[in-house]
């Protein structure tokens, strides 16, 4: 056996090193080329479309329209409102539920928690369908009540299709399990000692959780919130399925402008605006998280 070959490559000679650097670049190029060509370049084309008039001149007119025309402001408002509402409601429900599941033991808990992956992984449009099948005017609940009340004309007092609460129901159905999943995963890693320490110092169980465990779970809760918010914000399919166009969000409006009115420039401006918001939220969270870790 050649002893020199067995040694780890630490002291590579100068020409060998240069070759290695060159190889590194080729390697990186191979990895990055598809992303440059099929993500970065298209996104540049999108931005370009949004700032160039049909005659080829530079303009910010489409962005001005975005902020001047009430219709688009409405869509922005719709988007942020439904995202914020979903996030708030699913955190308000999901966080206490996670803490409850963390503290309590009851038969079947483990299995149920593990099975939460089913709604969590179900594509949102299939969830939307299931909810329509369950709660729609022709859904399971309606049929069951009709038979129960022996009233074939009976109609549910609420509508799932084409209503705001219908959309919200689907989003919350999807988001709540996500919140429980992420928060529970973090809680599972928190040793019971922290709570015990707080209790030995005189805190009641609830105070211990509120003052000690909850602050430790803040990153996971914030992370879950950001994910829920951005998932709802970019949604197209649930809203177009459930709500028609009355509650259209920015993503729906992008599609609408493009396929409906064939106004590429406005669609592009809307798209750039929407992705700027999602990126700001995502990277904002990432930097906050890193900053928090360091501070």
């Amino acid at each position: 056996m050649d002893a020199a070959r067995a040694l780890p490559r630490v002291g590579v000679t100068a020409p060998g090193r240069a070759a290695s650097v060159a190889k590194s670049w080729i390697w990186l190029g191979l990895l990055l080329a598809p992303f440059l060509l099929f993500v970065v370049y298209p996104f540049a084309a999108l931005v370009k479309t949004s700032v160039v008039t049909p005659t080829g001149a530079f303009t910010l007119r489409f962005y001005q329209d975005l902020f001047a025309i009430p219709r688009y402001l409405d869509k922005t408002w719709n988007t942020l409102a439904i995202a914020a509402l979903t996030t708030t409601l699913s955190l308000l429900l999901g966080v206490p539920l996670s803490f409850y599941l963390w503290k309590r033991q009851f038969p079947g808990k483990r299995i149920l928690v593990n099975l939460l992956v089913i709604p969590y992984m179900t594509p949102n449009y299939i969830l939307a369908l299931a909810i329509i099948f369950l709660f729609g005017q022709n859904g399971a609940l309606a049929f069951a009540l009709r038979r129960l009340l022996i009233d074939p004309e009976y109609r549910l007092p609420f509508n799932i299709l084409f209503t705001y609460h219908g959309i919200l129901a689907v989003f919350i159905f999807h988001s709540l399990t996500l919140v429980v999943f992420l928060v529970l995963a973090l809680l599972a890693g928190i040793e019971p000692e922290y709570e015990e320490a707080a209790r030995s110092l005189g805190a009641s169980s609830l105070t211990a959780i509120r003052r000690v465990v909850l602050p430790m779970a803040v990153p996971a809760i914030a992370g879950a919130g950001v994910l829920v918010f951005s998932r709802v914000m970019v949604d197209y399919v649930v809203i177009s399925l459930m709500g028609g166009y009355r509650y259209a969000t920015l993503a729906v409006e992008v599609v609408n402008r493009y396929f409906g009115y064939l106004t590429y420039e406005l669609a592009a401006a809307l798209a750039v605006f929407l992705s700027t918001m999602t990126m700001a939220i995502m990277y904002g969270y990432l930097y906050w998280f890193r900053w928090r870790r360091r501070a």
């Binding site: 040793e191 000692e193 922290y194 015990e196 320490a197 707080a198 209790r199 030995s200 110092l201 005189g202 805190a203 009641s204 169980s205 105070t207 003052r211 000690v212 602050p215 430790m216 803040v218």
Partner: protein, 357 residues
């Protein structure tokens, strides 16, 4: 003798595992009391029962005559130092220490004064605004102690608090903990598996094994008068020589060990014909000279030079005796028995303990 903490007839099982088996003991006011035993012996469970983190199945735990077995942990007024400290990671050292006082409704200048006092006691001034992960292991340890002490608890409970520190720091913190305990005079219940730690810290020690109390006593009592084979083995090193009682007289008990007859101080409750162990510490074993009746013949199998003493492993008719010979000099080494030499093994009857087999 004042019984400050009293534990009576404590039982606790986890499913089929019996963790505490009828445990009883009493701790005096201002005493440093250590629970010593191998891992899994139930000592931590016992401590957690006192703290209220576990509920005992039966028995009584009373401080100053008040049974607190059904009090939740927050009502028991005990300070607990955890093995991994369990400092609240989202709070600074200062806020960690202040937490227990806040729970007692203290605030403002009084709270600040008490916190500073506690930080002074553990010598942590100047680091109070750091978060736990910005502190070294030893500093985290000090915060944990300050946090437990600042509430002036009725009892300080410590669960292997030094096991996460490196050897040198452990020595240092050992001295520190003893100093702090002396200064505050707080009654302390301390859990460890480290005999040296237990000896250097405690006033009295409770040795536990398999959920049962094996012996309670001072270090000297445990070392020189082990109550049974487990204690003899666990505390220090001990030779255990199998034998049989020949006669039980008023003054002494005659035992036959490895073909030789030994006359040992009397131990009550032994009848002729009973199988016993004779326990003797390596440092009490002498070689070459045979002072009295208690001597045995053997052959040196191995000799180890360990600095302060020489350790001999001597074969005696199938059994092995370990002997530590101290007070050696460079010149004296050659004249001491070598490997393969035939030697006489002797020890004073007063250094022997008779144990039931």
């Amino acid at each position: 003798m004042e019984r400050y903490l009293e534990v009576r007839g404590l039982w606790k099982s986890f499913g089929p595992v019996l963790a505490l088996h009828d445990v009883s003991f009493a701790v005096e006011r201002n005493e440093f009391f250590t629970l010593l035993g191998p891992s899994g012996c139930g000592k931590t469970t016992l401590l957690r029962c006192v703290a209220g983190f576990e509920q005992a199945d039966a028995g009584e735990i009373a401080v100053e005559g008040h049974d607190m077995r059904f009090d939740p942990p927050e009502k028991r007024d005990v300070g607990f130092v955890f093995q991994r400290y369990a400092l609240f990671p989202t709070m600074t050292a200062y806020r960690n220490v202040a937490f227990g006082l806040e729970m007692r409704g203290l605030h403002g200048a009084e709270l600040d004064r008490r916190v500073q006092e506690a930080l002074d006691l553990v010598r942590l001034r100047g680091l109070e605004h750091r978060r736990p992960r910005e502190l070294s292991g030893g500093q985290q340890q000090r915060v944990a102690v300050a946090r437990a002490l600042v509430i002036r608890p009725r009892l300080l409970l410590m669960d292997e608090p030094l096991s996460n520190l490196d050897a040198k720091l452990r020595q240092e913190m050992r001295t520190e903990i003893r100093r702090i305990q002396k200064e505050t005079g707080i009654t302390t219940l301390y859990v460890t598996h480290d005999q040296e730690e237990a000896f250097s810290l405690s006033d009295r020690i409770l040795v536990m094994d398999a959920g049962r109390v094996q012996q309670i006593g001072t270090h000297a009592e445990l070392y020189f008068q082990p109550a049974n084979g487990f204690v003899a083995d666990f505390i220090g090193q001990a030779n255990r020589l199998p034998g049989e009682v020949v006669a039980a007289q008023v003054e002494e008990t005659t035992v036959r060990v490895l073909g030789e007859t030994l006359r040992l101080p009397r131990r009550p409750g032994l009848a002729p014909g009973q199988r016993v162990f004779v326990s003797v510490r390596p440092e009490h074993v002498r070689l070459a000279v045979c002072p009295g009746d208690s001597c045995l013949k053997g052959r040196v199998r191995q000799r180890q030079f360990l600095g302060p003493f020489l350790r001999y492993f001597v074969d005696i008719g199938g059994a092995e005796v370990v002997a530590d010979i101290s007070g050696i000099t460079l010149d004296g080494l050659a004249s001491l028995p070598q490997e393969g030499d035939n030697v006489t093994v002797g020890f004073s009857p007063h250094d022997c303990t008779l144990l039931e087999a």
